[in-house]
């Protein structure tokens, strides 16, 4: 086996009533990002550069919930977070509370490469970005009209429920039991986290995840995306990026556990992904993508739909939303 492989996601938990043209737009964007990654891999870029490149593209496009197009806080502002990990040496970088850096994933990369730390947040992260001349924009740049509308709907939907795990039976559409994720009707929750996992032709794995977080989140809320072992993880065996209900992903240390069951239980990549989706999510809804050092790709989710696309060196390519 061997060869490069790439998998990308634009979030798990999709409104089954998402208009056909939005679905088409999502698929086109995922295909575009895959092709970007594929050509980088063909030019022998290392996995860590490829995941950064692909996630930058997703951040720059307003379609998904990261960079421009990020979900809004309760105050109507944007607070973004991201993390990146190189399985080769298990180096990692993460940022939270980013409000004016155009590409948070590249700031996370900079934290990994140029700071003595692994994780910087809020004004300290912004100051670090300025010091390194990263491209900065006004917070307004990230805010889209669509998301202003979504925030209004989220507030009307009685804000974030106290415990989203209790109420509803999801995965099973139907008008009577509307699907809820993160305490919000799925139609409001729509914009979603992005991520990418890559193994290059030398067998090096990397993963990157970026998000605006939850619609109507409290100021200062940190989710799973920047947390190494939760939203993002890579080691010499695999690279993993997760998406969905952040709190369930954190409790389940989801990304690390894919690697842990491969390492400690000897499971294969897809088995490992299936195992954590089934056993590690308590009542939470989430999805994840993964690659192994041998060039396999895998994904899994326990909610309605996940925007994802994957490709391998032997010519396999797939872009999908539903099961």
């Amino acid at each position: 086996m061997g060869g490069w492989a790439i998998v990308v996601h634009g979030g798990a938990g999709v409104d089954p009533n998402l208009p056909a043209e939005r679905q088409e737009e999502a698929k086109q964007l995922l295909t575009h990002c895959l092709n970007l990654g594929i050509s980088a891999l063909r030019s022998s870029l290392p996995a860590i550069d490829v995941v950064e490149l692909v996630v930058r593209e997703l951040e720059t496009n307003p379609f998904f919930n990261s960079g421009r197009g990020s979900a809004l806080t309760e105050k109507g502002t944007v607070e973004m977070e991201a993390s990146i990990m190189d399985g080769n040496g298990r180096r990692c970088g993460a940022v939270s509370g980013v409000t004016s850096v155009k590409n948070p994933i590249s700031l996370a990369r900079l934290v990994m490469d140029k700071s003595p730390h692994s994780y910087l947040a809020f004004s300290g992260a912004e100051a670090f970005a300025k010091k390194h001349d990263m491209e900065m924009v006004d917070n307004e740049y990230f805010i889209t009209e669509d998301n202003k509308g979504m925030l209004k709907q989220a507030k009307e939907a009685n804000t974030i429920l106290f415990d989203y795990r209790v109420p509803l039976d999801s995965c099973g559409a139907g008008v009577e039991s509307p699907i809820v994720m993160n305490g919000l009707p799925i139609s409001v929750y729509a914009p979603e986290t992005v991520g990418c996992a890559v193994v290059d032709s030398q067998g090096r794995c990397a993963a990157a995840t970026s998000t605006g977080g939850l619609m109507n989140k409290m100021m200062g809320r940190i989710g799973d995306s920047p947390l190494i072992g939760a939203g993002t993880y890579a080691c010499d065996l695999c690279g993993v990026s997760c998406t969905g209900e952040g709190e369930a992903i954190i409790r389940g240390t989801l990304a690390r556990d894919v690697a842990a069951v491969m390492e400690y239980k000897g499971l294969g990549l897809q088995e490992a992904v299936d195992f954590v989706v089934k056993e590690r999510l308590d009542e939470g809804k989430a999805g994840l993508i993964a690659v192994s050092k041998t060039g396999e790709v895998a994904y899994g989710f326990n909610c309605v739909g996940m925007f994802r696309g994957c490709a391998t060196e032997d010519g396999f390519m797939e872009v999908g939303i539903w099961e």
């Binding site: 700071s115 003595p116 730390h117 809020f122 305490g183 947390l227 954190i250 556990d257």
Partner: protein
């Protein structure tokens, strides 16, 4: 079986000749915190309540790097972080970037219990603290003279110190303001109560001379802090190494996926971590306790229902 508790006050390069006036207050602090935990567990407190109480006690003690006595950022401010996790429900709460909250660990518990989120940081966490009415003070309350000196030394040395290293000093100087071995470290506590419920809590001021906004391993579930139905773990040492090693979760994962005992799981994790970076305290549901480290020493203490008690700094013979 029965209850068990273990706590730490930081792991690092603690010189064996640490002067008595530096050692004693820390040993006393560990002993006092242990008593607080033991008496709580004896009076049927839950593991979760016990670890919060013990960490509050350690936060209030200026000899440790958490709460009052937290080390300073590169701009001379304090940015505290903490994390708590209940093993039976896997509920958890975490905070970072606190500058006025007296007991960060109790705010982490409130995030767990009173918000739909797990983790709040910086201004948002401070605003939440005010909304909840927890005790806050002027940031200067947390700053000690020793930590100002420690920051100056770190800046002179032009490097970031890891949270447990002795203040940098020129070779062979014995009379700097803060002598070598003035060890302070992150604090943490793990406990199992008589019903077999596990809990963990960790709190820290982070690194001397850290960049403003730096987040370490302490508030990250699975890195510095983790509990489930198998065990509860609180780690300390070089934060960046602990994050990348997902140290606390890995102790539990080895028990869960490889059926290792607590002792074997914890020993393996610490042994595999780069030397000089990692220490941890852990208890299992069966009431076993282990406190391994691959640093020179770790301020630590433990007690079990059957009467074993230990307070120690360096490896036991």
């Amino acid at each position: 079986m029965g209850w068990a508790i273990a706590l730490h006050g930081g792991a690092g390069d603690i010189p064996m000749d640490l002067p008595a006036e530096r050692r004693q207050p820390r040993e006393d602090g560990l002993r006092r915190a242990l008593e607080v935990g033991v008496s709580a567990l004896k009076s049927q407190a839950s593991a979760l309540d016990a670890v919060e109480l013990v960490v509050r006690e350690l936060e209030n003690n200026p000899n440790f790097n958490a709460g009052k006595g937290s080390v300073l950022t590169s701009s001379g401010s304090v940015e505290m972080e903490a994390c708590i996790m209940d093993g039976s429900t896997k509920n958890c709460g975490a905070v970072s970037g606190l500058s006025t909250v007296v007991n960060a660990i109790s705010l982490a518990r409130l995030v767990m219990e009173k918000t739909p989120h797990i983790y709040l940081g910086f201004d948002g966490a401070e605003a939440f603290a005010r909304e909840q009415g927890v005790e806050t003070v002027d940031p200067s309350h947390f700053i000690t003279v020793e930590n100002i000196e420690r920051l100056n030394q770190a800046k002179d040395a032009n490097r970031v110190q890891i949270d447990y290293t002795p203040p940098f000093q020129a070779a062979n100087t014995k009379d700097t303001a803060v002598p070598e071995g003035d060890q302070i470290g992150t604090v943490g506590c793990v406990a199992v109560d008589i019903h077999g419920n596990l809990a963990t809590a960790t709190s820290t001021g982070g690194l001397v001379n850290k960049m403003v906004g730096r987040i370490g391993d302490t508030p990250i579930i699975g890195a510095g802090t983790y509990a489930n139905s198998f065990c509860a773990v609180s780690a300390t040492g070089k934060g960046e190494a602990i994050i990348r090693g997902t140290v606390a979760r890995d102790v539990a994962a080895l028990m869960e996926y490889k059926s290792l005992s607590l002792k074997d799981a914890a020993s393996q994790v610490v042994k595999c971590a780069p030397k000089g970076t990692t220490g941890l305290v852990a208890v299992s549901a069966a009431g076993e306790v282990i406190m391994p480290f691959n640093t020179t020493g770790m301020f630590r203490a433990c007690a079990t229902e059957d009467g074993n008690t230990e307070v120690a700094i360096w490896p036991s013979l």
